[in-house]
């Protein structure tokens, strides 16, 4: 039955990242694989560092998965923060553009030439949240929390987030405790603000989860290559480090949990509160009134999770059907 005659659309996925790891790029592939299964709809991708080369590649990946814009269907721009350090530009984001077809033309086209070809992350978050039904969106954060903290500070946006968003899944920190983690340390004030003020439940996927569930790199030349001969994410993976290698996958874990919270892939901590200290160290204080939890890698689920990573992330792009069957209800433990 068409969606507008009943049921509910899959939740809108808002992904904010710095693309500082290959895992953060694989998470995009995973989200589109989940979209193919009607487990989410990729709404927008926003970047938390001003790096046009990386934004250009992210845009090319979006075009690869989204397909051409058509009637009533827009391809939103990549949102890109314009202040802060640009960070490193890995070969993963530039080498794929050198790839040529047999006729000598580029396989992937970089259509981000200047900042004009990107969008303001806060405007995009606001605009695309307004298109979501209440409590039918989720955020995934894999990188410094700068954009999300700015969104909280923008007039009216915190209330909109509270109305539209079910939960935020943060790929960052270390739980129940551990040394300062890179994403948190990159903008400690922003991370502190998010954990203190974000108006929905937060689930953290700490570095220990990503380390326990490494993405199997061998799949790049098997499942990925079999699905599509030219996949920009697979080409980026090959250029990121000498092959073969597996990679920690904290962002993928966050994305998988966010879209399929009822699947039982992960164990979930009790409720509590996550705090950030001045060094960027995260700590978890249990307490029933707390609105935070963290994921716990479950060794019994490892094979299932890695299979899901590979199957979903390597999937051939599909043009999203406008009307989809209704989706299942959310995880009861995340109800506000």
């Amino acid at each position: 039955m068409p969606q507008f005659f009943g049921g509910r659309q899959a939740a809108g996925a808002f992904y904010d990242t710095d693309f500082s790891t290959i895992d953060s790029l694989l998470a995009v592939s995973l989200l589109y694989g989940l979209q193919n299964k009607n487990d989410c709809r990729v709404a927008i991708i926003t970047m938390s560092r001003p790096n046009l080369a990386v934004a250009g590649f992210a845009d090319a990946v979006e075009r690869f998965y989204h397909g051409p814009a058509g009637n009533f269907s827009q391809l939103p721009p990549i949102g890109m923060r314009t202040d802060g350090p640009p960070g490193e530009t890995s070969a993963a984001f530039t080498a794929p553009f050198q790839k040529r077809k047999a006729d000598g033309t580029a396989v992937y086209k970089n259509q981000v030439r200047t900042i004009i070809d990107t969008g303001d992350p806060i405007t995009l978050i606001r605009n695309y949240l307004e298109a979501q039904r209440d409590q039918n969106a989720f955020f995934i954060l894999s990188g410094p929390a700068s954009n999300l903290a700015a969104a909280l500070a923008f007039p009216g946006l915190k209330a909109l987030i509270a109305a539209k968003v079910k939960y935020l899944v943060v790929a960052g920190g270390a739980f129940p405790d551990g040394p300062p983690e890179e994403h948190v340390r990159a903008d400690i004030a922003a991370a502190g603000k998010i954990f203190a003020e974000w108006p929905t439940p937060i689930v953290a996927s700490g570095t220990e989860v990503g380390a326990a569930l490494e993405f199997p790199g061998a799949s790049i030349d098997k499942q990925f290559a079999q699905a599509v001969p030219d996949n920009p994410v697979a080409d980026a993976y090959r250029a990121y480090q000498p092959m073969p290698y597996d990679t920690p996958a904290g962002a993928m874990a966050a994305a998988l949990y966010a879209a399929r919270p009822r699947e039982g892939y992960f164990k979930l901590s009790d409720s509590g509160t996550i705090k950030v200290d001045e060094q960027g160290r995260t700590s978890f204080v249990p307490g029933e009134k707390g609105n935070h939890r963290y994921l716990i890698a479950d060794s019994a689920q490892k094979e299932k999770i890695l299979s899901a990573y590979v199957e979903l992330a390597s999937a051939k792009p599909e043009i999203r059907r406008r009307f989809q069957p209704p989706v299942a209800q959310d995880a009861p433990e995340l109800k506000k």
Binding site: N71, T118, T123, L124, E130, P155
Partner: protein, 447 residues
């Protein structure tokens, strides 16, 4: 010491039921006081075109920087390229479906100047105070009319004009309050009498005398005109003469249209006095905008050239198909070409207005220099119903404020309301937020 008394800026030539405003004259400046002469006022107008554009003929192929050769749809504006700002990437998110389903035409015109997602309803009409009315409410007291609302198409204020959106949304641009649109004047005669009537109700005897002779309104102000001319220098006399000739020409055109209407098909939809010919109607309405600006009768105009979803055919171009159906061209070359020709035709009419504005002098500058004339649409690609990269031109420098002759691209998805904030700055109303604005539109000013 010279003590010549200057002519008041708000001088009217008065006669039987008539009050003709006059343009800015040298005599209005204090003698030998050029350095203290106040800047002419800044005027603002919106020309709204429906159903989007064929964007390959609208957008230049180049990015930011000086405007080089204009794209095909804008060729008629080539003589005014140096006076033009060609803006890209402005977006009306509130025109999008968001959660309200079909009805992009109803939404986009309702949100165009309000920056609000209008309520999808046929009876519970809700938009927001439009940006032009905010300006009018603040500066409108300085002119005879706080604002003028003009149109050419359809004045229905009720009924379903698009998928459950009331015609109030498609047939009005200006909103006085969230529930009160300001319907546009469609009839040139009505507009003419509004501009040049005394504003006082005429007695039955006065009305009888006026209609009996069917004379020009200028005949009723002859005495005042002669008195004024006697006090003017040769430059001002010529300027006044040119202006009154323009008023007379508009009046003649209206009379001609009224005469034509009596002779043609009685089943024609156009009301008495409204020209059947699109170009003639456009010229009359836009000539009166120029006159109203020239005489400082108002500083704020909205002109809904035709309404969203209009199915008006353009037989004068050999296009019998309706405009709206054509814009759902499904990328068929033949249909797209017809839409391109309609887009070009509209711009050609607009260019005539720009020419008039540029020819009218105000001190060292032109009337166009002292204006911000926005020509735009609430959809970009009408086939796909896209609300981003809205076609937007600004003609005029807003009184030495904008650096024109350029293509300016904002970041993608930049709210259109950011442009409105910048324009409000220029109108002397600095506000921090309007509609869904996120800040001001950078890069337009002379800096």
């Amino acid at each position: 010491m010279i003590t010549r008394k200057s002519l008041p800026r708000r001088t009217f030539l008065r006669g039987l039921g008539t009050a003709v405003g006059i343009p800015f004259l040298d005599a209005m400046a204090p003698a030998f006081a050029a350095s203290t002469m106040p800047d002419p006022p800044v005027r603002m107008a919106f020309f709204y075109l429906p159903n989007g554009m064929i964007m390959d003929a609208w957008n230049p192929t180049y990015d930011d920087g000086p405007l080089r050769e204009l794209p095909r749809s804008l060729k008629a504006l080539e003589p005014y390229r140096a006076d033009t700002l060609h803006l890209g990437n402005l977006t009306h998110n509130t025109g999008r479906a968001l959660l309200d389903g079909a009805g992009d035409h109803g939404r986009c015109s309702g949100s165009y100047l309000t920056g609000i997602q209008v309520k999808k309803s046929l009876v519970d009409i809700r938009a927001g105070v439009s940006f032009d009315q905010i300006v009018a409410s603040q500066i409108g007291g300085r002119t005879r009319f706080p604002s003028l609302e003009l149109g050419m198409d359809d004045a229905r204020q009720a009924g379903d004009c698009d998928s459950g959106y009331s015609c109030a949304y498609t047939n009005n641009l200006a909103w006085k309050s969230e529930t009160q649109p300001l319907p546009p004047v469609l009839n040139p005669r009505v507009l003419f009498e509004r501009l040049f009537g005394s504003g006082q109700p005429m007695t039955a005897e006065e009305r009888r005398r006026q209609s009996k002779y069917r004379r020009s309104i200028l005949d009723f102000v002859t005495d005042d005109t002669h008195r004024l001319e006697a006090s003017l220098g040769p430059t001002d006399r010529r300027k006044l003469d040119e202006y009154l000739s323009a008023v007379r020409e508009v009046e003649r055109q209206i009379e001609r249209a009224e005469s034509d209407n009596r002779q043609i098909d009685p089943h024609m939809e156009k009301p008495y006095g409204v020209p059947a010919d699109f170009a003639e109607h456009f010229k009359l309405m836009s000539d009166m905008i120029a006159i109203a600006f020239q005489a400082d009768l108002t500083r704020v105009v909205t002109f809904l050239v035709t309404r969203e979803g209009t199915s008006r055919p353009y037989r004068e171009l050999g296009i019998p198909d309706g405009h709206h159906p054509l814009t759902h061209h499904r990328n068929q070359a033949e249909l797209m070409e017809k839409v391109r020709r309609i887009n070009e035709y509209h711009v050609q009419q607009f260019a005539g207005f720009v020419e008039k504005m540029k020819a009218s002098k105000e001190g060292e500058r032109s009337l166009l220099d002292n204006s911000m004339i926005v020509y735009g649409a609430g959809l970009s690609d009408g086939n796909a119903h896209l609300h981003e990269d809205l076609p937007t031109l600004i003609l005029g420098r807003g009184g030495n404020y904008f650096k024109t002759g350029r293509r300016v691209l904002a970041r993608r998805e930049t709210p259109m309301c950011n442009l409105f904030l910048t324009m409000m700055d220029r109108m002397g109303l600095p506000v921090e937020q309007f509609g869904d604005s996120t800040g001001r539109l950078d890069g337009l000013n002379l800096g």
